[in-house]
Symmetry: C2
Subunit: 183 residues, 2 copies
Amino acid sequence: MKTTLIMSHPYFEDSRVNRALFEAAKGVPDVSVRHLEAIYGSDTRAFDVKAEQDLLIGADRIVFQFPMFWFSVPPMLKAYMDEVLRGKFINDNGNSKLDGKELQIAISIGAQESEYSKKGSVKFTLGEILLPLQLGAYYCGMTFNRIFAAGGALGATEADIKAHVQRYVKLLRNELEEDEYQI
Amino acid sequence: MKTTLIMSHPYFEDSRVNRALFEAAKGVPDVSVRHLEAIYGSDTRAFDVKAEQDLLIGADRIVFQFPMFWFSVPPMLKAYMDEVLRGKFINDNGNSKLDGKELQIAISIGAQESEYSKKGSVKFTLGEILLPLQLGAYYCGMTFNRIFAAGGALGATEADIKAHVQRYVKLLRNELEEDEYQI
């Protein structure tokens, strides 16, 4: 299974958790990683749309990796969606060129993942909050995989980060067990 | 009631509905309008954070006006949230400086608003889809007003646009009736 991993972080220079996940992802077989801000800076109109579309077409699984700020994706990832997925780049036969691929969301969140529940402080689940991405995936004919979250990013210890990295590498290798999505 | 209206549109040059709404908003008393892309271009890191924060502090109501693409806000509006609302710019006493203000979402959508329902093609309501903005408002201590939508933007006739504009001006004047939010 070929994976194209799109990572976006508006303040990567301050990143600890996402940086560790991203570095680990680089070493996983059949995973190609792209860091949007490193390639395109902070310009929402700078994308090489054709090149990005070709990379998505060549993948079986697309990963969007980012820190969740304001309950949503970073600006450069939203710009990527607007510019690259525009019209879900329809085939001549009217189908989406992303039809049948998997979309995997992999996020870091400052709070513990348990806060994202009816009983937690946020009151809503990550699935409810990231509904826009699920609907976007369906709109493109993609499968929406279970969300992978690295919780407690604020104040994460080195041991916490190492545990997140281990789970992430397993996810990218398709070896993550159901009970390992949350820790 | 003083209103600061933040409009963001990644492709304003192609806009019909948002352009008409924005032009009409300029003439409403006590409404100050800002077009993010006209001021800051497409650079997500170009914001004058202090100036933007001062404009929000001076308002009783904040309006985010935008076309909904990929079930979410435009990239420059998301960047605005990340950069300007960062840390909800906490007071010395620990409170949000946005505490008690209203957040009003005003969107255009290509499909008819009726599609955004359990029975419609999207299967989810605009309230469910825009939950991230509601949670963001609550996080800042703001009231989240009922969402204003201009549906059917794709293929809207001049008469459709005129009707949307009339409703929008009433909304901004605080004269919109409950049954006028949807048409």
